[in-house]
């Protein structure tokens, strides 16, 4: 499928904004949904609507089969073979809260928890708060001037024998990959539990869980890969999951409830209390099918071209500075930038008037922006269906923004 064929699958791309064709460069925040994903949800509600794991009747069986079938799809997508290792949550944020809450009993005063400077708040605040409440040390691994993680600092942090090390596989601001497997090995050697934020990586790379090395858990949100909002996946090693206490209590997560005690359900349901987002999970299944159909290798190729074009075109803009690696390799088409003399909010408003959707703000990564002495940046985050022509629209709108703000000088 070429970009044009792919684009036809996303109805939202036919929207017009302020009289202009929509240029959607906010994929990092959430990805457009193809017709097949929405159809899968509609089909569930129209034909199979029933609760899962409950009833003997036909609809309940169909609902359960479709819902549980998505775990098989995940196994295929990530090259694993144990469906028990996939827990559905409401998103990356929810998964990290699950992890920080269930790991809390293991953290004691004086222990160390390690994150990095480039974390999204979802993988920062839960650990910061856990450390605060336990009087544990919260160590933030810094970046080098080329925007990559400071490996020496990471090694020094591992010498502190941390209990937990949690880092992102790809920053939602900087757009490049971290060497997950290498970092995981170092962290494991130090005896740590290793957790990975995969919210961006899953949208922009082709990999198997085994490529990530000695990690204990990998979490992401369905909506970043063209699935529905409100659905998250936590993959975690079976032994690791078994070592965790349940997170939330209630229906579905039990095997037997006595008057004074309860026996927990098996994996994965032990961590899925209450009626889940059934339609959403089924929609995620359709999103995985969609990406597989386009081909993850193809996605990578299309995005690599956008990385090259994007960097080349943005470099032409005088006064524009990209916060992130200028190398093409291991990079997604996520371009965070600052423009001399024009605040990101003003850029975003002026771009919006041209139909271009970008994000202006702190991108839920205030510790990272503080490091750059910024309170906000503008971020154009592209996806495989975007085009070089759209990049040209962006560049000319940025040039125009510069003109508006240089009036009278």
């Amino acid at each position: 499928m070429d970009a044009q064929k792919i684009r036809e699958q996303f109805p939202i791309l036919r929207e017009r904004v302020n009289g202009k064709a929509l240029v959607y460069f906010d994929n990092g925040a959430t990805h457009p949904k193809p017709t097949s994903v929405v159809d899968a949800e509609v089909k569930f509600y129209h034909h199979d609507n029933a609760n899962v794991h409950r009833g003997v009747h036909a609809l309940s069986q169909r609902a359960t089969d479709s819902y549980e079938g998505v775990r098989n799809k995940l196994c295929k997508f990530f090259g694993t073979n144990n469906t028990q290792e996939y827990i559905f949550s409401s998103g990356t944020t929810a998964s990290f809260n699950l992890l920080s809450t269930t790991l809390a009993p293991r953290v004691e005063a004086g222990d160390t928890i390690v994150v990095t400077r480039m974390e999204h708040h979802a993988n920062f605040v839960p650990w910061q708060q856990l450390a605060l409440s336990k009087k544990a040390k919260f160590e933030i691994v810094e970046l080098k001037s080329d925007f990559t993680l400071d490996r020496d600092h990471f090694k020094r942090a591992m010498a502190m024998k941390p209990k937990i090390v949690s880092f992102s596989a790809m920053s939602n601001v900087l757009g490049h990959k971290n060497p997950v497997s290498e970092l995981a090995t170092l962290a494991k050697q130090a005896g740590a539990i290793v957790l990975v934020d995969g919210a961006q990586l899953v949208a922009h790379d082709e990999f198997k869980i085994s490529d990530l090395g000695l990690i204990d858990a990998f979490v992401f949100s369905a909506h970043k890969i063209s699935g529905p909002t409100g659905v998250g996946v936590m993959w975690a090693r079976e032994e690791f999951l078994k070592s965790l206490p349940p997170y939330q209590f209630g229906g579905d997560m039990i095997t037997f409830v006595e008057d004074q005690s309860t026996i927990w359900n098996e994996l994965p349901w032990k961590f899925e209390a209450g009626t889940p987002n059934i339609a959403g999970v089924i929609g995620l299944g359709a999103a995985l099918d969609f990406m597989t159909e386009i081909g993850r290798g193809n996605i990578l190729k299309l995005e690599h071209e956008l990385v090259k074009q994007g960097l080349a075109k943005l470099k032409q803009v005088k006064g524009l500075k990209i916060l992130g690696s200028e190398s093409h390799e291991g990079r997604a088409p996520i371009f965070s930038f600052i423009l001399e003399g024009v605040h990101p909010h003003d850029i975003a408003t002026l771009l919006d008037l041209e139909g271009i959707a970008v994000r202006a703000g702190h991108h839920c990564a205030q510790p990272l922006l503080r490091h750059f002495n910024q309170t906000a940046t503008t971020r154009a985050s592209l996806s495989y269906y975007n085009t070089a022509a759209e990049l040209d629209v962006l560049v000319s709108a940025i040039e125009n923004a510069k003109k508006v703000f240089s009036r009278g000088t």
């Binding site: 024009v342 605040h343 909010h345 008037l353 508006v404």
Partner: protein, 147 residues
């Protein structure tokens, strides 16, 4: 919709050359407010007269977009030397206009240029930031005094 409604000359001019920008050495009270949307912040410092009835001096600092900087600049310009009573009234009018409960005609002078922001709902927060901060600052002073 063009950008002219938002980025009027007066606004761009205040942005480029903000009035009362910096730190107020003689401040008797100060407040910092964040815009959670973008992480921007504004600090407003005031020096009230001994009877708390007049804004003798006012300065602002922080980082922000053109709208929040211009808005803070216009605000400080308008209320410097004013009575606290008039200041609070102006803040109420401005908030009313921004939130669409009051006709824009009640605003006079440079502040009128900010009425275009109403066509850009996501930017209203930017325009209100310093005004909300000053309101809270004065209210805190009044509370302290009556306590």
């Amino acid at each position: 919709m063009g950008h002219d409604a938002l980025y009027k000359e007066i606004i761009l001019e205040h942005h480029k050359d903000p009035r009362n920008h910096g730190l107020l050495e003689s401040a008797t009270a100060s407040i910092t407010k964040h815009n959670p949307l973008c992480g921007d912040n504004v600090t407003v410092q005031i020096k009230l007269s001994p009877d708390n009835k007049t804004v003798d001096d006012i300065m602002f600092s922080g980082s922000g977009c053109s709208i929040s900087v211009a808005s803070a600049s216009i605000l400080t310009d308008d209320v410097k030397g004013q009575s606290v009573e008039k200041t609070l009234k102006l803040i109420e009018q401005f908030r009313g206009v921004m939130q669409g409960n009051e006709k824009p005609e009640v605003l006079e002078g440079d502040v009128e240029a900010l009425t275009g922001v109403r066509q850009f709902p996501v930017r209203i927060k930017c325009a209100l930031l310093a005004w909300t901060a000053l309101k809270e600052l004065i209210e805190n002073q009044n509370k302290e005094k009556s306590a």
